[in-house]
């Protein structure tokens, strides 16, 4: 269950028995009171978020709402002005081997002199640790992951020769090669072709079947109900978070987007589809 925890510090103390029996495993992600600021301007403000079970979670909100920053804050890529983050009940640094990451495509130089296979192999580096070079086993894993995203034929291509969608698939394959338990994806569907979007969708469905947790920064409201079990509506703070059916409502969206009509029309269309499909 994804929720915004109550701000009641004594909750656990007043019902200790219930707390210990009801929650045997620690939450998958526990974001507590997180504030991130560039200089003095807050980008995220008092964000509280708990994901109890591994699910597909869409992080949605207007431009500049801090969606990417939320992921980066959880992963320790931007300094927290306040608050703390735990994954699987531990500090993030202690569980890095269990985390898979798909950064934004634009974040790297695609002219870098490496092949597609090289990039996917980077996913295995975490397990390899210092000094050990990737060997046959890692290569096989990387090839499998490439095949998984329909890029098997591109293994020896230089990455500069790929289209945007293909670049995105390479990043997905690299994250798969990490063989993680929880994945963070930053706009994997932004500016990709339909074939790649299909690949992403199938991949998400498969990760769901394998009971992996996946947190995805997503920009297209129309596809939210189709993709995600849970939604976080974000605009500097968490406007609403929970199961898609409960949270992805016109009222909440209006609150998140401040009533920008074209966006809400998209959402309304998606909601109708969702209701019809039930």
């Amino acid at each position: 269950m994804l929720r915004q925890p109550e701000h009641d510090r004594n909750a656990d103390e007043t019902a200790p028995a219930e707390a210990t029996t009801a929650r045997a495993a620690p939450p998958v992600v526990d974001v507590h009171d997180v504030t991130v600021a560039y200089h003095r301007r807050p980008v995220l403000w008092d964000v509280d978020l708990v994901l109890d079970e591994p699910r597909l979670v869409g992080i949605v909100g207007p431009n500049g709402a801090g969606k990417s920053t939320l992921i980066k804050a959880i992963l320790g890529l931007v300094p927290l002005a306040s608050g703390r983050v735990q994954i699987f009940g531990q500090e993030v640094a202690a569980v890095r081997r269990r985390i898979g990451y798909v950064p934004q495509r634009e974040s790297v130089d695609w002219d870098f002199p490496v092949t597609v296979l090289d990039v996917v192999l980077m996913g295995t580096y975490g397990r390899l640790g210092w000094l050990r070079r990737p060997g046959r086993r890692e290569r096989d894993t990387a090839r499998e992951c490439l095949a998984h995203v329909g890029m098997a034929d591109y293994a020896s291509r230089q990455i500069g020769q790929l289209s945007g969608g293909q670049q995105q698939r390479v990043f997905l394959a690299r994250a798969l090669a990490q063989q993680a338990d929880i994945y963070f994806m930053d706009e994997p569907m932004a500016g990709v072709d339909a074939a790649t979007e299909r690949v992403v969708f199938d991949l998400l469905a498969e990760l769901r079947r394998q009971h992996k947790a996946v947190l995805v920064v997503h920009h297209d409201l129309r596809t939210v109900p189709k993709y995600f079990d849970y939604v976080v509506l974000l605009n500097m703070g968490v406007v609403a978070a929970g199961p898609t059916a409960d949270v992805f409502t016109t009222k909440n969206l209006q609150q998140t987007y401040g009533g920008r009509l074209s966006v809400l029309d998209d959402a309304a269309e998606a909601l109708q589809k969702q209701q019809r499909s039930r």
Binding site: K72, L75, R96, F112, P113, T115, R133, D193
Partner: protein
């Protein structure tokens, strides 16, 4: 004339080659990690350290001066980092500030030493501005070799880690690698290879020894391991040739010569390199353009013969005339004549203007690719958008087989599936 170099020249040659190799190796990473200007700032910031060490020790002691150079060089980099963090100054401006201020301070100290101390005027500190390889002795070369070996060992051992951080440091951080330490290590390698280059190349131009070999190597390969080897080779050539010229011509400082040699290698690579060199790109583009022109020609000729055949528009339909081509393609008759002649020259049409066997089969392939491509673009736009290519054959090359069969069936039903123009001719000649 090139005489067989003397012992002294050999020593200098070995030293300069090693400097070039270390610079090429470390510099490639610096360039890829976008830290090459940091090397430049570091070199300039080393000058005051050199001079201060000289003043403190009171004589020309190479180890002391290199230690001083390292100290202020690294200090300069720290100041850059602080400026960026604490103020709103961007990195390029911060580098510019530190580079010029430190160099200014260094030159003032240098002149002070030369004017005020008796040792100073003899010490030849001037050489540190633009470099002087002639003063190099065997002990210097041994030291350079040791530092170069250290750099090579570090890169060899940490190749995987350095590559990852250079390509995607955020990913590396999430994966648990200490990106800051790895960056500091790279910075350390840059620092030591800059410092050992200072006496030979000078503070002003040392950065070129870091940047040029790696940048030139990029034109020859797209794989990092090979790029490092090529960069080291270019560095070696740069150092060696620059030194040789400087040894032959008295009075020319080595630094500028080495830089010019490096620039020449870079220019040759940019022109002739097979990866992205200008010549290679021009050849590829020309071939591509020819290929496209031929495809267009084949299709145009096919349409002309098809029109002649089906409409019985013109007599002698076996033969593609310029007139038929002009009508079917709505082109001026002069261009149509040129095109027919081009088809004949390429052996697609015979002298009379009828299809040759080769021409017919190539035209058939081209037209089929075009029609499949158009149909697919209409029926499966989302599939074709990412594949679309001016070269129709390339656009449809990797479509799945079932899809191709479906499209063929559809085109056949509509009577739009092209037949071999030669076999069509014989069947269609009776009016």
């Amino acid at each position: 004339m090139f005489a067989w170099p003397a012992y002294n020249t050999l020593v200098v040659l070995a030293g300069a080659s090693l400097l070039g190799m270390a610079g090429g190796l470390v510099g490639s990473f610096a360039v890829l990690r976008r830290r090459s200007l940091l090397g430049d700032a570091l070199a300039h910031a080393a000058l005051p350290g050199l001079c201060l060490a000289f003043l403190l020790v009171g004589r020309r002691s190479l180890p002391a001066m290199q230690a001083g150079a390292l100290a202020t060089g690294v200090l300069g980099v720290i100041v850059i980092a602080l400026l960026r963090r604490a103020t709103r100054v961007k990195e390029d401006a911060a580098i510019g500030i530190v580079l010029s201020v430190a160099f200014g301070a260094g030159v003032v100290l240098l002149r002070y030493i030369q004017n005020e101390t008796t040792e100073g005027s003899k010490a030849g500190l001037d050489a540190y501005l633009f470099g002087k390889t002639a003063g190099m002795i065997a002990a210097d070369v041994v030291f350079i070799a040791a530092v170069a070996a250290l750099c090579a060992a570090a890169v060899l051992i940490l190749f995987k880690e350095l590559k990852l951080v250079a390509f995607d440091s955020a990913f590396a951080h999430v994966q648990g690698w200490p990106t800051l330490s790895l960056d500091l290590l790279l910075l350390g390698l840059i620092a030591v290879s800059v410092v050992i280059s200072l006496p030979a190349v000078g503070v002003v131009l040392t950065a070129a020894l870091l940047i040029l070999p790696g940048a030139a190597a990029r034109f020859w390969t797209s794989r990092l391991d090979r790029l490092l080897v090529v960069a080291m080779l270019f560095g070696l050539l740069t150092g060696a040739i620059g030194t040789l010229i400087s040894a032959q011509v008295a009075g020319l400082p080595a630094g500028p010569l080495i830089v010019l040699v490096g620039a020449a290698l870079f220019l040759i690579s940019a022109l002739a390199g097979p990866r992205r060199g200008a010549v290679a790109r021009w050849i590829a583009l020309t071939l591509q353009r020819r290929q496209l022109a031929k495809q267009r020609l084949l299709i145009a000729l096919y349409e002309a013969s098809d029109l002649a055949k089906t409409q019985g528009l013109l007599p002698g339909a076996q033969v593609i005339t310029a007139g038929a081509l002009a009508v079917s393609e709505a082109m001026p008759i002069a261009k149509a004549r040129r095109d027919v002649r081009a088809g004949q020259r390429a052996g697609l049409l015979d002298r009379a203007g009828a299809w040759t066997e080769r021409g017919a089969s190539q035209a058939l392939a081209a037209v089929r690719a075009q029609r499949i491509c158009r149909q697919a673009l209409r029926d499966y736009p989302e599939l074709m958008v990412s594949r679309f290519d001016l070269d129709y054959s390339a656009a449809v090359a990797d479509l799945p087989r079932e899809l191709l069969e479906t499209i063929e069936l559809k085109l056949r039903r509509e009577g739009a599936w092209p037949d071999n123009p030669r076999s069509g001719m014989t069947a269609g000649t009776s009016p």
